[in-house]
């Protein structure tokens, strides 16, 4: 009885996995590009992780594009955590199920490149947002922030705030290997070269997880009692660093800088435990990448675009321009983005 039950359960698990996993070498369901205007188009939107606020915003933008354009169906599907293998599987499953286009935020620039080429070989339209692949095919546009530039701007701001007498700063990363993390780190170090009085004393990985970022930031504060600023290059890193500084009682000595505009990060900005954040435009990324995918399916070609990064402080938080980016709605921004794209 015991063996039969175990066997049945294992078989069910295997069948379930096979059904979800998608078989290789099955029928080529993908449609070729060049559908006529008005024919129904299915686009798969694949973020890096579905449970990070930033990607929720990209989803809002993507859904706005899908509803604004005609005859577009959006399938939003991504890994629940930072898991490169899982994301590759999702892309391949979408290809198998026969989508017309894919809008992808690549978890790893190198690892996702082969599957993007696979998609292109099948004639599926591909656009990327937030993070592209390496090598990036010419016809695959990227809608992302210029992360290097944003990080350089952040390094300038931090250096200015620390002052001319200089001091120690620390960096908390989130996903080494992804284009965004690599570029923000590169930009930050590059920018600091122009400020020799600032010393980067610690670079650690918060794993895009609040608990880890908090522990790591706490240990950095212990290891470097003279540190004057911590730059969390991603929302969880920033929130974790701010919590750590607060708990160590060092809010007068250490300022925290962040990236992105998650609700709890905004609260900390208002409370003063985070000094400034670099806000991207995830809504626009999602919107533009889906719209571009539809255009490519319908025979056009689309160029990459820098979706912009703005440094926001407590003072500039409530200005209309910033609010439009942080708290977008489809009605207001949908038509604006459509006009911009032309």
């Amino acid at each position: 009885m015991r063996n039969v039950l175990t066997t049945v359960l294992v078989l069910l698990a295997v069948l379930g996995a096979a059904a979800c996993g998608g078989s290789t070498g099955s029928s080529e369901g993908g449609s070729t590009g060049g559908s006529e205007e008005g024919q129904a188009v299915t686009i798969a939107g694949i973020p890096k992780a579905t449970n990070i606020d930033f990607y929720r915003q990209t989803q809002a933008g993507a859904e706005c594009a899908a509803s604004t354009l005609e005859n577009v169906e959006l399938e939003w599907d991504g890994p629940t955590t930072i898991d490169v293998g899982n994301q590759i599987n999702i892309v391949q499953n979408k290809l198998t199920s026969g989508v017309d286009g894919i809008a992808l935020a690549a978890l790893d620039a190198n690892a996702l490149a082969p599957v993007v080429q696979q998609a292109r070989a099948k004639g599926v339209a591909v656009t990327t947002f937030d993070s592209g692949v390496d090598p990036q095919p010419e016809e695959v546009p990227l809608f992302a922030t210029d992360n290097v530039d944003g990080a350089v701007k952040m390094s300038d701001l931090i250096s200015k705030n620390v002052g001319s007498e200089g001091g120690e700063v620390a960096l908390i990363r989130f996903n080494p290997g992804s284009q965004t993390d690599n570029e923000r780190t590169k930009g930050f170090k590059q920018g600091l070269q122009d400020h020799p009085e600032i010393e980067l004393v610690a670079v650690q990985n918060g794993e895009a997880n609040l608990d880890t970022a908090l522990s790591v930031a706490t240990d950095i504060l212990t290891a470097h009692p003279e540190v004057k600023a911590i730059f969390g290059a991603e929302e969880r890193a920033a929130v974790g660093a701010a919590l750590a500084v607060e708990r160590a009682g060092l809010t007068d000595q250490v300022t925290v800088y962040g990236w992105d505009a998650a609700p709890d990060e905004i609260e900390q900005l208002k409370a003063g435990t985070i000094q400034a954040i670099l806000v991207q435009d995830p809504f626009k990324m999602g919107y533009d990448s889906v719209e571009a995918a539809v255009k490519i399916v319908r025979g056009e070609s689309v160029a990459s675009e820098d979706t912009g990064g703005t440094i926001v402080t407590k003072e500039s938080l409530n200005s209309p321009e910033v609010q439009k980016i942080i708290d977008p709605s489809c009605e207001k921004r949908g038509s604006q983005l459509r006009e911009e794209a032309g």
Binding site: L9, A202, L210, S215, V216, T222, A223, D264
Partner: protein
Amino acid sequence: MKGKPTETRDSVNSEPWIDGEVDQSWRSVLRSYLTNALSQVATAGALIAIFVFLSIASPEFLTPGNLFNVGTQIAVTAILAIGMTVVIITAGIDLSVGSIAALAGVIGAVMVANLGLPFGVAIVGGVAIGAAAGLCNGLLVAYTGLAPFIATIGMLSVARGLTYLSTDAQPVILPISTQWLGVGSVVAGIPVPVVFLAVLVLAGHFLLTRTTPGRYFYAIGSNEQAARLSGVPVRGYLTLVYVLSGALAGLGGMIAASRAVSGQPNFGIGLELDVIAAVVIGGASLFGGRGTIGGALLGAFLIALIRNGSVLLDINTYWQSVILGVLIWAGVLFDQFRRKRLASAT
């Protein structure tokens, strides 16, 4: 099989219990006691060596502030390791503790934030959710004969999915008044989580060494068939260990949520590996029948020191994974070596 069935029965019913060994001759009892102690001495030795090294290499290491931080950072892992030790002693494994901790933390946070319940009620609620998940694991293992690996891998997925579903994968913010559990301290600055850990370590040790259920756990792990034939209610006790593991995971999840002042849906991903590493490094055998709470605690502290030390000394985080992996090998190899010696001696 280790001992003869009659020996198991006699031992369970009458003999003084020394770390779960069944053989009755005093020489082999002494030898097994020494080898068991030796694996813990090895772990303790490594712990002391790393402690001394860090004290010398990093001036900030040996400060009360840092040591309390280390204690807080490892408290959740160590609490989960208590439950995991008992499960592993029964020759089982619980791969779902990370997911259960996240589920409890998130639901507990929902109880406070959305339902307006007092935090104390939410803590009990979190533990109860953990126990319920553990009950599900236990029933699957004990009554349907599902291998613990498979049963708890299923729960790992189910609990994580339920966590994301319950809050649409958003963190649930807690009021600042709840942070005493994860961040508060009692006399002399000892963090609250460390106090919880100390109490649970003593309770767990007492359970394993001085109570009947404790002896039954070791017996089931040593030789389940023999234990059943001796009249040990195996299924009931197997269910119980998973309930214990789940409940402790629930408590750990609430402590973590309090520390983060929010229920974080992606808490604890991969945590079970740290927990299992702690238990194995501490001398427990994955084949069952041996292991101590003290050993698991040593293992957990070793892991915490390696993580803390890496940041203090600015070592690349990835070396931590390499070192931990090597320590796991060492722990398991030593256990295999010990079992071969024991088998050839009897």
